[in-house]
Amino acid sequence: MRNIWIIVFMICFCSCKKNNEASELTKTYVQAGEIQLTNPRIKVDNVIIDTSSKITASLQLDKAAIYYTKDGSEPTQTSEKYTKAILVSEPGIYTFKAFHPDFRPSEIETVTFYKKGTNVYDISLVTPLNEKYPGQGKNTLINHKKGTSNFRDGQWIGITEPLIAIVDFKNTTFLESVDIGYLVNTSAWIFPIQSISISSSEDGINFIAIEIPQPIEQFNGDITNQGNIHIPISKELKKIKIEISNTTSIPQWHQGSGNAAWLFMDEWIFNTRNN
């Protein structure tokens, strides 16, 4: 009987010792499972689709796998596995996420493809461009080219005051919607659009305001991303007047609190039935 109690005691002792060893290990070194994968790197030919575009994703890490969706939903390991470059011929949202047996999954990377908009006859600026970031002049916004995440790549115009422009289609056009592309890079003081006003003109002279929902985007820490505001229009018109305001007062959490923020835009896409 006494021997049995000794055995029981030994078993308890051993099991406790094992647990202690494990917790000491946890304490000393970072565990793989605590660490998150970096987002997959996404490369795209052009997100404005004329005929087709190509998208590649990579994360060069042993045992890492990338999964993706085409409907904007968050990928899981049951989603489609990325194996080779994807040819894209229709507008849509591609979302990528990396997984690994040892590490926490990455955040998502999203790429939105747009249909090429209709050609604009002319764009005239009511307010001047900022000399520091003029992009390639006023046509930057209608050249069917989106910018990269690098705001100095020449496809972005940067402003610190509202931009007002009149876009002329020459002939009467049924405009279904407008997509306004912008950049957010808060550490470079680049914030989202604060407000948009749009008015349309059937005769090219008189403009009537169109009611549109205002952008709402709030965050409390530094982020970098490319945004897009889709504005339904559904009107016949010859000209459209667009007035866009930058964030006039940087929020309190940011070092630039109270100052006017930069607004960077790369492209205005005018969607018609025919384009």
Partner: protein
């Protein structure tokens, strides 16, 4: 069932239950997987608890640079003016702090002169280089080189790094200023100026770090990082450009020579779309990248190194590394939320 049999049975059941924790313990044990970073010969486990201090007593802002002194102590430079210098022993225990007048404390270099340790601190806000004893007594201050005609004002001089020769001559890299490399005698007399801002071979965009490379004792050279260009440039001691080593994707901060290898903190991955994309990089005696802790495996194709980038979110903005005699590394980080250095144990 007699009492003896019953007891025997229940003890067996208890033993079975009691052994469960042992197995679960063993299972937990197996389930723990220490993170191992790096490639090939240079792999490490990561200790985030090393050197952590109470922020209310010994605060840090950016941890800019970190070195080991002749006594084996780890000396770290931060731009927090409550304690610009924090001295640890190798276990991470606080030994002492000093320095309250270096708001732009950035570069930290050890100079051993006749067996005595001195420090060269660069301060880009004071636009100065300050030489101190190891316990913080200032013995020399270098101002902006007005006589060269290359600076319109002192504000244009924002030195980031120094390196010291055996004879006491030292070089200064003006990495946040006009990108010149300045060569001084041990007395602080300006002997030579080279480099400058530009994209030519002998010019720099962000001449952030500099060190003396005397691995080939017969041919000592200077190694200077052009961080924005993702290049390490080699110069002769008299300021002639020799060659460049390209590390595409890696914003290398300063070269640190340990044995026959060069170690770098990499502030960011060039094409990263997210913040905190840094990692580390190690070159061998042939200046080939052999390991990138926290990033992609270095791969050469046709003598060209594939672009490097962060693969796991471990480091934020590594700014300097120190390698001790056991080949363990200490990593100081810029803009990391006031964190203390990270220790890497080589395996």
């Amino acid at each position: 069932m007699n009492r003896r049999k019953f007891l025997h049975k229940s003890v067996c059941v208890s033993a079975g239950i009691l052994t469960l924790p042992m197995y679960s313990g063993a299972y937990t044990f197996n389930n723990h997987k220490d993170l191992i970073i790096g490639h090939n010969s240079h792999q490490y486990k990561v200790d985030m608890t090393w050197g952590n201090l109470k922020a209310e007593k010994v605060p840090v802002k950016d941890c800019h640079e970190i070195i080991q002194d002749s006594k084996g102590r780890i000396v770290m430079l931060t731009n927090h003016i409550k304690n610009n210098i924090i001295v640890y022993d190798k276990s991470g225990k606080l030994m002492e702090t000093w320095g309250t007048t270096y708001p732009g404390a950035h570069g930290l270099t050890l100079s051993v002169e006749n067996g005595e340790d001195f420090l060269f601190i660069t301060d880009y806000e004071r636009h100065q280089i300050i030489k101190t004893t190891i316990d913080g007594k200032e013995i020399m201050t270098i101002d902006y080189p007005a006589d060269t005609g290359k600076y319109a004002s002192r504000e244009e001089f924002k030195p980031t790094e120094t390196t010291v020769l055996k004879n006491g001559d030292f070089y200064v890299a003006d990495g946040y200023g006009n990108q010149f490399i300045l060569h001084y005698s041990h007395k602080g007399e300006l002997l030579n100026v080279f480099g400058g801002r530009g994209t030519e071979n002998d010019q720099f965009l962000n001449a952030h770090g500099i060190c003396l490379d005397q691995r080939d004792t017969a041919n000592p050279v200077l190694l200077i990082t052009a961080r924005e260009q993702n290049k390490l440039k080699r110069f002769s001691l008299d300021g002639n450009y020799l060659s460049s080593i390209e590390v595409r994707g890696a914003l290398i901060c300063r070269p640190v020579i340990h044995g026959n290898e060069i170690y770098f903190a990499v502030l960011k991955s060039r094409e990263a779309t997210h913040d905190n994309s840094g990692f580390l990089l190690i070159m061998n005696d042939k200046n080939e990248v052999v390991s990138c802790p926290g990033a992609t495996r270095p791969i050469y194709k046709n003598n060209s190194l594939a672009e490097l980038y962060q693969t796991i979110k471990l480091f934020q903005h590594p700014h300097d590394v120190c390698v001790d005699e056991d080949d363990n590394m200490y990593v100081a980080q810029w803009n990391s939320g006031q964190t203390y250095p990270i220790k890497l144990t080589r395996i």
